[in-house]
């Protein structure tokens, strides 16, 4: 039960499990320097699990490796090391053709609804593409299925002949969601699905994703930099910093009593439309900026910005351990916050 990233035993059946996944990118490799200038350790030993029908929120700032992780889960990148088990099957090293049936079950929704849709194709054909590729529906039934999908995500089914340019940002994100849902996946990886949208439209898309999850029993990996969005959608949360998970657990536990200093700082920095809380926000500012993932600090990677850092933190990297005897809530910190000081 203390195994990293494990789900509590009473949870829904496990859909996805990552064990010690790493993804390193070589940098600056060239003719004159075949060994390269170094490696970016974008994802560096991540273990996590997602239960069927539930949402795992992954939160972190620019450069923490969250999008790389999403692409690793979808097997868009080959792993450097580690293992991915989806629905009881090890998919880590499957070949392209063996991956096909897996791709039916794992789909992605991307951040930018403008660049993720082909501008020269009609909406109907964009949504029908996965149905055709996977031969999921006979040709004669295509249009009916596409229109059913459009209706499901709140688009007017009569607009299937229009081009993406005829739709607003929020509507395009709905098209992207319809395309991802076309072949009835079990897991949807949403990489910043609302951050390019206006506030009032964001709320529409978040509600839509929640409705679809309840209706279709989808599992979500929901990636965002915005903590308030993650709080809103997630059952469990993993906080990433420089390629590692620094804290993970049930959403309530993370938000009501964060144990890692980084989680606490992120929570404090979240923008809240309330004058009094906004002033508190400014008092809790974190100093400094993210170190380079090519050359992460020794020991704990957060120590250069941590208000509680001590000698030990530069010498020994903390492992992700259970916080305060709570096996379900894990934190990677030598000096985690106590229950009292963490409450916001």
């Amino acid at each position: 039960m203390t195994e990293n990233g494990a789900l509590p035993s009473d949870a829904a059946p496990e859909l996805l499990r990552l064990t010690d996944v790493t993804k390193h990118f070589p940098v600056g490799r060239s003719f004159v320097r075949p060994r390269g200038a170094g490696t970016v350790r974008a994802v560096d030993g991540i273990s996590l699990a997602v239960a069927a029908g539930q949402t795992l929120g992954i939160v972190g700032e620019t450069g923490c490796g969250k999008s790389t992780l999403a692409r690793c889960i979808a097997r868009l990148y080959p792993l450097t090391s580690g293992q991915i088990v989806f629905d009881g099957r090890d998919i880590t090293t499957l070949s392209r053709s063996d991956l096909r049936p897996v791709r039916r079950d794992v789909q992605m929704v991307f951040q930018d609804p403008f660049s993720s849709l082909n501008a020269r194709r009609r909406v109907g054909s964009i949504i029908a593409e996965p149905l055709i590729v996977h031969k999921a529906v006979p040709r004669t039934g295509l249009r009916a299925r596409v229109q059913q999908l459009m209706e499901m995500v709140g688009l007017n089914p009569e607009h299937y002949n229009r081009f993406p340019a005829d739709f607003s940002g929020g509507q395009r994100q709905r098209i992207g969601i319809a395309r991802a849902l076309a072949i009835s996946p079990k897991l949807l990886i949403c990489d910043e699905p609302v951050s390019a949208l206006d506030v009032s439209i964001q709320a529409q898309i978040i509600n839509l994703l929640a409705d679809l999850q309840a209706e279709l029993q989808l599992g979500y990996v929901f990636i965002a930099h915005d903590l308030t969005v993650i709080e809103h959608v997630s059952d469990r949360v993993a906080v990433m910093y420089l390629g590692k998970i620094v804290e993970t657990g049930p959403a309530e536990a993370i938000y009501s009593s964060p144990r890692h200093h980084y989680t606490k700082a992120l929570l404090a920095a979240a923008s809240v439309p309330d004058p009094d809380r906004a002033e508190l926000r400014q008092e809790a500012a974190l100093s400094g900026e993210l170190p380079s993932p090519m050359d992460p600090p020794s020991g704990c990677r957060f120590r250069t910005r941590c208000p509680a850092a001590q000698q030990l933190c530069s010498e020994l990297e903390p492992s992700l351990d259970q916080a305060n005897g709570d096996a379900d809530h894990q934190v990677a910190c030598h000096f985690p916050l106590g229950r009292m000081e963490a409450t916001r």
Binding site: T62, A203, A210, H225, E231, V233, S234, S271, P275
Partner: protein, 331 residues
């Protein structure tokens, strides 16, 4: 520089439209507002609400537009100035900070040089004096080892540091007014907090007025003295910070607040989004432009556009026929 005028900028009846092959885009349809000396005005709205266009127009940066109205700044109407006169105002008396610091800095010139250039363009000082000023400013905005980092190129700076450099550039000539257009949208939350703090700090130190344009009500919640909410090219509500967040008098403001996750707590609670989409600025709906999305719309809203009228707290005004009824309603 003797500042006696308590109002730095007073805009009245600003209208901006653009001719396009599809018809006339009425980007701003009558905006009136003012900024007091040393104060912060927050301008909030979604894409296409006219918030950026209004400010760009004040600086003469919307060349193909048809503009009417007045914008009084230090006794002169900005909208009537010639290109030469405007050039002396821009940067020196009013400066601007943009959303994306990477595209607003020139990639081929050193940071320090770019700041010094702004000084040289407006003041008769030596190159070395301008450089010294640039280094001093970089220090003021919290760039460590400023005299060395001044020789860096923009790509050697992180996003937060670039935005600090932009703020240094904006401060170079001690302007009376800084217009910041989504200055933190491209930044992470922890860096955003730092930049907002810096803006407030330099504002106090230099006694500058500040206009903060944003789509995020959370960004200005801690710093705006007044907040103007724009929709479809017009201000629909103007009020003090507490009035806007605690007792909004326009259904759109209330809708925006209801759409923000985390504004009211518990996990997995349903958000209350504003239904529908913002209208096309070429074919606006008749009457109040918000009526197709408004939960309170009535017959009059479909026919007559409501004017911005005083309602609620002192200094608060709302453009809604039902503004007086909104008091005490659960928002």
């Amino acid at each position: 520089m003797t500042e006696v005028d308590p109002v730095t900028l007073a805009v009245d009846g600003l209208q901006v439209s653009f001719s396009t092959p599809d018809g006339t885009v009425r980007a701003v349809r009558g905006a009136s507002f003012s900024v007091e000396a040393g104060a912060t005005l927050g301008v909030v709205g979604e894409s296409g609400s006219g918030k950026s266009v209004s400010m760009l127009t004040l600086l003469g940066l919307t060349s193909a537009a048809q503009v009417s109205g007045t914008a009084m700044f230090r006794g002169r109407d900005l909208l009537k100035l010639s290109e030469d006169e405007l050039r002396r105002v821009r940067g020196a008396q009013i400066s601007m900070i943009f959303q994306d610091p990477l595209t607003s800095l020139h990639p081929h010139y050193r940071i320090g040089w770019q700041i010094a250039e702004a000084v040289l363009a407006h003041e008769k000082v030596s190159r070395s004096a301008a450089r010294a000023r640039a280094i001093e400013l970089l220090g003021t905005v919290g760039i460590p080892r400023a005299s060395q980092r001044a020789d860096d190129y923009p790509h050697q700076f992180s996003g937060g540091m670039r935005q600090r450099a932009m703020i240094a550039m904006a401060l170079a000539l001690r302007p009376a007014l800084i217009i910041a257009d989504e200055p933190t949208t491209a930044l992470d939350a922890t860096v955003e907090v730092q930049i907002l703090q810096l803006l407030q700090q330099v504002q106090r130190e230099f006694q500058t007025s500040l206009i903060m344009i944003t789509h995020d009500l959370g960004v200005i919640a801690g710093m705006a003295d007044m907040v103007m909410v724009m929709y479809a090219g017009r201000p629909v509500e103007i009020a003090g910070r507490y009035a806007i967040y605690r007792s909004p008098r326009h259904p759109y403001t209330r809708g925006l607040l209801g759409s923000v996750p985390g504004a009211r707590g518990p996990i997995k609670q349903r958000l209350t989004p504003i239904p529908g989409q913002p209208p096309s600025l070429i074919r606006l709906p008749a009457g109040c432009p918000f009526h197709p999305r408004c939960p309170l719309a009535m017959e009059r809203c479909r026919q007559e556009e409501p004017p911005l009228l005083q309602v609620g707290a002192p200094g608060q005004s709302s453009a809604c026929w039902r503004a007086t009824e909104l008091d005490g309603l659960e928002s």
